[in-house]
Symmetry: C2
Subunit: 252 residues, 2 copies
DNA sequence: GTGTTTATCGTCAGGAAGACGACTATGATC
DNA sequence: GATCATAGTCGTCTTCCTGACGATAAACAC
């Protein structure tokens, strides 16, 4: 491998973000409207250039903070504060994925609890939380009957990969708690699983599973009735990051 | 996200390869000796620049072919031919990971059956299969008593990530068959698991598990005694790529 | 033949999960 | 205030899977 610094093609490197949250029982992703060509006016994933002195993770955390105000915390640290989970997803570098120049995008996956309305540089109309199914359907019609344009660039593929990563990772890790506020009930955690997987889970078996896994949930002592019905115990995420044996995703 | 093509810092983009195989009951990785500074004379992972008209996967497949002669096949296709499994691993882009310039490396993971001696541009002394434990130990001594220098750049980290990916992925997928030739026995497959995980598995329970999983193994009708002992049935990898329920890795 | 090696089949106990009954403690409705 | 709807929590039972391990089979070495 001769390594000639004068003989490499220059690339632009960006980070794109798949920011997921659960709103109204649906898995939603953050989308921003593009202000310039190409794909002007179309929805896209938030992202931007990596700066010259910046690590890839730093760039992703900076973009996340700019778009949502969320602070990222290290994926290896337990989700104690109310920051978002952030991890690298994959890298997309097809020549021609950006018509202007050769751009390699290092996509990152961020998981956040339900948030107030997003802000994209202060302009709310240019950023929104959209159900991932709406963003991924090709040329259909949204809930409001308006035609849905596919996401810009290859962002539909990136979003699909991020959603699949989240769906599989909550099986064997405690990552689902990243969608919950600091204190949450077993039922709220179950509704996260149901929204991400799009299935219904048995509340009794789910309760047995999560409370029976050592280190997964820590009771805080409090209770809440914010979901109606009988008061539920409040928990925090425990130190355990791996779920063994995993939570089984029902097939079909 | 203002997107000004004149205002992005230029990056060099490379692919680095973690090529794993199983030799003599040990998980081994392909290492090449560096001919130039920095890290001249040190061992490193094979890799090279992504060309201007090349996809990232194409670049990785090209490097793999140059180093080993192996043809990569699509990760989504079943491992039918005797090509190698190739998938993207992760991307490493710390400023300063290469002292000369800003390099972002998209690491790929390749799994291959046991091969003849490697060739690095025709020079055998500059490429070798080394047990991953030997490559990952920091400043220890190899089997021959010579001091072991750590891998160049951040390649130890990349290799460790690749090994961890392989270790976890053979749990829930049929990826272990990528380490085997086209036809193999249950015992040979078990020795792959034992080498990758570094544990001993019960031959009877392993046999029950792999032969009882529908679509995992397809008997070819033949038998072999190449391992000694009673003749063993020969199998090919079946179409199933996911193992459900997964193969459980013994703890400790 | 005897011993060794590897492959393969069987048995049994323990653990986890799916299905589901039963009970509890709230707020909402009449 | 009684009743109802809602959500949470505890148990039970059956089934499946795994880990431990005995037993048999078919080759080779001597």
């Amino acid at each position: 491998m001769p390594y000639d610094p004068s003989a490499f093609p220059p690339f632009a490197v960006t980070v794109d973000l798949v920011v997921l949250t659960v709103r109204r029982h649906a898995l939603c992703a953050l989308a921003v409207r593009r202000g310039e060509a190409p794909f002007q006016g179309r929805w896209a994933l938030p992202g931007g250039f990596v700066r010259a002195d910046e690590d890839l993770t730093q760039a992703a955390a900076r973009e996340l903070a700019e778009e949502t105000g969320l602070l990222a915390h290290d994926p290896d640290a337990p989700a104690q504060d109310n920051g978002a989970h952030l991890e690298q997803l994959a890298t997309y570098g097809d020549p021609g994925r950006d018509p202007r120049m050769r751009v390699v995008s290092v996509a990152h996956l961020a998981l956040a609890p339900d948030l107030p309305a997003p802000r994209a540089g202060g302009d709310a109309s240019n950023a929104r939380w959209a159900p991932v199914e709406e963003l991924l359907q090709q040329g259909g019609y949204g809930r409001d009957g308006e035609p849905v344009a596919p996401l810009a660039f290859d962002h539909a593929r990136i979003l699909a990969d991020g959603v699949e990563r989240a769906r599989s990772k909550i099986e064997y890790s405690s990552l689902a708690t990243a969608f919950c506020p600091t204190e949450f009930t077993v039922g709220e955690l179950r509704r996260v699983y149901e929204a991400v997987w799009g299935v219904a889970l048995d509340p009794r078996n789910f309760h047995r599973k999560v409370t029976g896994t050592p280190g997964f949930l820590v009771p805080t002592g409090g209770t809440t009735t914010r979901q109606g019905g009988r008061p539920a115990q409040l928990f925090r995420a425990g130190g355990a990051t791996l779920l063994n044996p995993p939570m089984l995703r029902p097939e079909v």
